[in-house]
Amino acid sequence: MKTFKFVLSLLITLALGYALSIKLGSAPPLGNFLAPAIGFWQNGETSDTQISEHLDLEGLTDNVSVTYDKRLFPHIFAKNNHDLYFAQGYITAKDRLWQMEFQTHAAAGRLSEIVGDKALDYDKTARRKGMVFAAENAIKAMQAEPEIMEVVNAYKEGINAYIRALSQGELPFEYKLLGYKPEPWTNLKTTLLLKYMANDLSFGEKDLQNTNALALLGRETFDLLYPDMDTPLDPIVSKPGEWNFEPILKDSVAPQQTAELITNKLVPEPTIFNGSNNWAVAGSKTKSGHTMLSSDPHLGLSLPSLWYTIQLSAPGVNVMGASLPGSPNVIIGFNDSIAWGVTNAQRDLVDWYKIIFKDDTHNEYKLDGTWVKTQKKIEEIKVAGGEPVYDTVLYTHFGPVMFDDSFHPSSEKKYYALRWIAHDPSLEAYAFYKLNRAKNHSNYMAALDYYSAPAQNFAFASAQGDIAIRIQGKYPNKGFEEGKFLLDGSTTEHDWTFIPFEQNIMCKNPERGFIASANQYPADSTYPYYITARSYESYRNRRINNQLRAMDSIEVTDLMGLQNDNYNLKAAESLPYFISVVDTLPLNKKEKNALTVLKNWDFYNNINSKGASYYEAWWDTLYRLSWDELIASKVAMGRPTAYNTIKLLKDNPYLKLFDLEGTTAKENGYDIITKSFKDMATVMDKRLQDTTITMSWQDYKQTYVKHLLRLKPFGRYNIPIGGNHNIVNATSENHGPSWRMVVELDPNGVKAYGVYPGGQSGNPGSARYDDMIDDWAAGKYFDLFLMASPDAEPNQTLAKQILAPKQ
């Protein structure tokens, strides 16, 4: 009996222990998660941030001094390159390890390992895009450059020194929540991180949508809806007739005019709102006579933040700015001589080729009249709580076959291979390494010669007084409309060749005294090469250029004001017309009320503005009604830009597509403006009756910053910030300026200011996790002190730390 009692009690105890050691449903293993000595309780930081004064680290060659300023921005002072990047890796990992690894897992298509089979489609997509293939090619290119290999290796060692010393209690919160552990960092992860950015920034394309649209709508409507240049030209670089080089022009190639419909379910694209602003002004336009530069990249808003502020100092370099956790160097920043910032260059850097396989084995495909062998790569996708899944990816001359029988198949057998600029060997890390050290315009130009993808508009200003912009990337040299549609993959006729770097679009010290870019059409119409892209932005650029043209005696605060500018140029250009359509109609009470609000609006999307809420509600409804056929279509088709939609509504109101689906009446542009107005007025009136919400633009828009795992309590909601798409302050619901920086290049000491919607710590248990969000929303900036030595700013110093080589 006593034995039985003992065994029973033992079994209950063991069962309890077991149940607390495993994941039950989506709950974390509760033993590790809740036990106070090692569980999540350990991740709660005290309000005064604890920083060790002295750390012994295996792998350092000399002492490194780190000064943390009051914003927790680390200022790293090392005696050599190795130790500098070792320390960057270590310090960044200390604050952001989980995010760094999670993002590289996402890039590599390994999320199923962590979150289970719900991420399988995401993982297969990443693998079929060839993300790892791309990162491996980047490593091969780096191996030929010992200088950058030293940097990347040291960065890796620094991260691993941090990982090695981690105890269970010190594990970042998300590891405990999801019940896994970090693996050693590798150079592949560093390159994957850059490919993660390339995917966000250079995968925007609509070749397949274009192919469908051309087949379904016909040439005339297609050209109306999707012109290559649908924008009032205010380009990044305008120097008509002064493109002084001998272009290598290709013969015009007719698009493949098959009536082919691509019925595969296409993969999600990066949002079209990934964009940015940057500009630089010459001394002739500033009050101090110094050049100034501003940069604010617009990306998805998430926590932990994408960016991490850091200063890196060692013999030969002293640079500060925004770094990407997972990649060495500063990505957007300044040193005592120059400043630079980036915006995305809109350009078609993705092509699709239709492949003809010999038979169902897919062992051979047709190329230039012969059968060529396919490379097969078997991808093993590990799945948390399940069996691994295997996916065979076929590699062709052009690149991986994305769509086939086993991935998003269509009813017929169709195979489309992907050619993407990010697959090519490239040396972005080396470009940033050199940019960090640049002293003048020619150093900046030399650094950018190493930069291939994702294509960016690099704005530049120097303390010597130069300003410049270079639209840098490796661009396929295209014939007219080549690659705008699906290409024939049975021939090498459409293989990519490239525009020589020196023939890229660029300019230095233009007469107008400023350079600026905001994802618009890049050059005036005399630039000799054919250019196309998924879309161009047509409002922010004109607002920025108009403001900069008008400004004089510019001070830093003026440029901060411009970054936070909420003027809605799109509304100013479209609302008076929309109102004129509905103004003379008989209206009911709620419609009259809506019209009054709109007529009294000043076109600013400020947080308290009601007019902004009504306008944006109207616009969203109108846009949906305008393109209802395209949105509802079973095969994917692109959507015209906001600018072109407004233009067509004004100039082409009887366009057949404006007729609504599912009604017997024949609607035109006027009808849908009216219908969308009435629908909007009804919805807004209903909202008016709800006493829990106001009509203010802040409450209507509800900007939020979400945790990378979309855990609701770990994000921030209803943030008081104005702006929207197509506005210089491009903050929409969950997208916007992910970093704002303004730099004045005073030769006697650079002055710089920056802020981002997050905090330096990636730990949700730290007050520093999201402590800059409110300041960011309010348009405030913090000093970015480019310290000359660890003791340069004693009043701003929070803590000092020595990283010493372990004896």
């Binding site: 033992l10 709660g44 309590p713």
Partner: protein
Amino acid sequence: MIRFIIQLILVVLLSYLAQFFMPWWGAMIAAALATIMVYSKGFSSFLAGFIGLGGLWFILAQRLDSANQSLLSSKVAALLGLGSSMQLIVVTALIGALIGGFSSLTGSLFVSMLKKEKKSNSPYH
């Protein structure tokens, strides 16, 4: 009663020490060990483990939470569908109490099983 108090102190002491060099389930071994070292009957042992480890985890969690001003626990509580940080501390303590109680009980029953065997082997019986 004194035996119970000694047991209780031992559970707290051993499981507190165990957490520095063992995984979380070290606390279970500690709680069992405590009742093996100082034996009392089943229910009383269960109670010693239950109160000992539950109380220890309550105090540890509560102290960490107060130093953090409930910044993290309020988020975790919301994530797990709990109403407040205090509820999360209580859940933590309850789990500690349960594993502590059953571990101590198992330890006690182990000793009593051995005693029985000893008795049956005794020539004086």
